[in-house]
Subunit: 171 residues, 2 copies
Amino acid sequence: MSSTSSHSHYHDWLRDAYAMEKQAETMLEQMAKRLEHYPQLQLRIEQHIEETRQQQTLLAGILDRHGIAHSSVKDAMGKMAAMGQAFGGMFTDDEVIKGAIAGYVFENAEVGSYTSLISAAKRIGDTASVPILKQICEQELAMSDWLISHLPELTEQFLTLSEDPDSKAKR
Amino acid sequence: MSSTSSHSHYHDWLRDAYAMEKQAETMLEQMAKRLEHYPQLQLRIEQHIEETRQQQTLLAGILDRHGIAHSSVKDAMGKMAAMGQAFGGMFTDDEVIKGAIAGYVFENAEVGSYTSLISAAKRIGDTASVPILKQICEQELAMSDWLISHLPELTEQFLTLSEDPDSKAKR
């Protein structure tokens, strides 16, 4: 009985993580598509879209091992879509800066979720999943670090482009 | 003309930052009020509410120096309230874990915003504001670090409490 509760939370959080990566893919694709004048950022986002798809496969494997039907992710998808909508306005905003900040924020939402998931996996004894979840968390952290460390120069670049009256280079 | 555009963005972002701190105060207060079984987290949040109020005063000073009317923050408040609603469900969720992750995510939204603002302040030559914005950014970073570093033990604690059938200690 007692362990059931921990397992149940762990399973919920795994579903959330899977839904989060689906949402991440959608949002990153929207953003990459709109970027025109920021090829370095676009490239990094495209790399991360690839990572995100691999993460979905890894998470699907964990769901399978726990006998969690992928269809049961539906509720979690709804929640993540709502969160995505809040971010979505920022991701698709004309201002590349807001998009980059939103991306950074979303990566940190992922880092937080995996940090908690790793703790839960250890606790319920799902040792096989721990290195996988750690690996995903490190990829999110790397993307988050990349975005925050490039944000100052991105801001410079955005303000420079915005000062050019011929340029509509907000993205 | 050219510098007007940078100034205009900078002023918008200052307004956003002020609105963000107002929203932060509301959300942190909601969360602190609901926490019952996590006194350490509650204490840290209460400390940060105090910091948040001081940050509002510092930002108001910057707005004043730029002749930005506080009433013009209204639009930014609407945007932030929408973001707050998305987070709000998480902040007031029964599960303290989601609240802690949401708090961490919101702190990082602030870190991203100030990182960009510092760049913009330097660019337009508002050197007086740079150390103030840096100080605020460091406080947000410290809160973010605190939350992520305590998240594993908080998860442990939450799962332990959730396994006690007599406990409704989800918050």
